[in-house]
């Protein structure tokens, strides 16, 4: 496990911020806490991007080519949309509520952006409709009451809250290729990998932790990690189908 000086940790965090809301509370490692940083790689033949079946007369849906996002692997084997969670741990520093931008799920060009959004149980999720056309947000939840809400062009923003931890698939019935995951969690320390397959979680209390990685197509993996004060623990995951 490498340790990095704090200033490099900050630079690393800035450079590797994977997705909005991905990094818990603050960018700097405090003295009581450490960070976990890493990358998720794919093992095996790199899967080609699969085009989505876009059956729609809507021009907006054809502006850019839409691909399925259930398994997104870059040419250099980096895995997108993996959710990394520190199980049963609380962040050391309180995040500043003014600063923190809550999680957001948007609808752009007939796609959900991001494909995976993580929200704490009871936390507000802001759902946006940047498309200006009718979408319905249909959450296929089992532990939470399912919701199916229309967002007509004039309804550009809507809030949702989920009571229980659950990984919830979301779809649009108007544009059935659209799919996303709302991962509701009881564990506030989490991150989601972006295109570069990297993640970083700050404000992790020093000590032993269980790290859980979940990907919708590649399954769940757990790893025991040791986090030291004021330093960054590096982790690599390698997943195959």
């Amino acid at each position: 496990m490498k340790t990095l000086p704090s200033w490099m940790g900050v630079a690393l965090a800035a450079a590797m911020l994977a997705a909005p809301g991905a990094v818990a509370a603050g960018d700097e490692t405090t003295d009581d806490a450490g960070s976990i940083s890493g990358v998720v790689r794919f093992k095996g033949d790199i899967p080609e991007p699969v085009p989505a079946e876009v059956a729609s007369g809507e021009d907006l849906c054809h502006k850019e080519k839409i691909y399925r996002e259930d398994l997104v692997v870059s040419k250099d084997a980096r895995v997108s949309w993996a959710v990394v969670t520190v199980k049963k741990a609380q962040p050391v520093a309180e995040s500043d509520p003014e600063d923190a931008e809550g999680p957001v799920l948007d609808q752009q060009g007939c796609r959900y952006v991001p494909h995976v959004v993580v929200v704490d149980a009871g936390e507000k999720l802001t759902v946006l409709n940047s498309d200006g056309i009718l979408h319905n947000v249909n959450t296929k939840s089992k532990k939470n009451l399912p919701k199916n809400i229309a967002m007509v062009a004039s309804l550009t923003s809507m809030d949702m809250k989920f009571k229980r931890a659950e990984r919830i698939p979301v779809k649009c019935d108007v544009h059935p290729w659209m799919g996303a995951w709302i991962v509701v969690t009881d564990d506030p320390l989490h991150a989601v990998t972006g295109v570069d397959g990297t993640f970083r979680i700050d404000n992790v209390p020093a000590g032993a932790h269980t790290l859980e990685l979940w990907h919708e197509s590649l399954g769940t993996v757990t790893r025991e990690v040791e986090v030291a004060k004021g330093s960054v623990t590096e982790i690599e995951f390698e997943l195959s189908r």
Binding site: I133, K140, K143, L145, P146, K147, N148, A150, D173
Partner: protein, 237 residues
């Protein structure tokens, strides 16, 4: 003293022929129906007047007492209030069993969900939703076909088609993954009922278990305009 045994008896007598002994929707008489009876264990109730996707007690009482005639569910005007209540409770029990079964199948293996939590979730899912207020339209309300059409094109046409024929989507599915037809509004068949108040409920609350979503942001007046526009499409007075 009401008991679920009495509810079960009433159900066997009056409901099981179509809805099946265990609520599967495959009673022996179901084959004679055009509309498939609700699977009371596996499907959510569809005709609701709440915004959280749950039927209210009044919704279920109405369905039992007045029926859903266009959905081929008969009325039972001869039931006493107590009998209706017993049946509502019993039908909720069936629903609850279904929810518990599904939750156990999905979650009890991975050790993340206790039986207590599963029962808690099931109780929540079958509890009564909170009814919305459906007042009469505002006193100066007048149906304006242009407004109705504009709202329809924005909120409905993508699925129901520009003329309301139900030809907007290719292969929609209900919540159980079965193919479901987008309603042809010009056919004038409204399974939850075609009177203005029922249409208001469908538009405002959606139809849980189907792709039809709730409209949370529309004003009261807009929902009434849409309801009247839909009646226009269906050629109703």
């Amino acid at each position: 003293m009401p008991s679920s045994e009495q509810g079960e008896e009433l159900y066997e007598q009056h409901c099981a022929a179509c809805h099946g002994t265990y609520g599967s929707g495959r009673g022996f008489a179901a084959i004679a129906l055009q509309v498939r009876p609700r699977d009371l264990r596996a499907e959510p109730f569809r005709y609701v007047s709440s915004l959280d996707g749950r039927a209210t007690t009044e919704d279920l009482e109405q369905t039992i007492r007045r029926g859903r005639l266009e959905g081929e569910m008969p009325a039972h005007p001869d039931f006493t209030d107590a009998e209706v209540r017993l049946l509502v409770d019993y039908v909720r029990q069936l629903n609850r069993f279904g929810v518990i079964g599904r939750l156990e199948e999905e979650f009890s293996g991975d050790g993340t969900t206790t039986r207590d939590e599963i029962e808690e979730i099931a109780d929540e899912m079958v509890a009564s939703g909170e009814a919305i207020e459906i007042g009469p339209p505002p006193f100066n309300y007048r149906f304006d076909p242009d407004t109705g059409r504009r709202l329809y094109m924005e909120a409905c046409a993508s699925c129901h088609g520009p003329s309301g024929r139900g030809d907007g989507l290719e292969m929609p599915q209900d919540a159980s993954g079965r193919p479901i037809a987008v309603r042809d509004l010009t056919g004038g068949e409204f399974r939850g009922g075609g009177d203005p108040v029922e249409l208001y409920k469908r538009i405002r609350c959606g139809i849980p278990g189907t792709p039809m979503p709730a409209q949370l942001a529309m004003s009261d007046e807009q929902v009434w305009q849409l309801a009247d526009y839909v009646r226009l499409l269906a050629n109703r007075k």
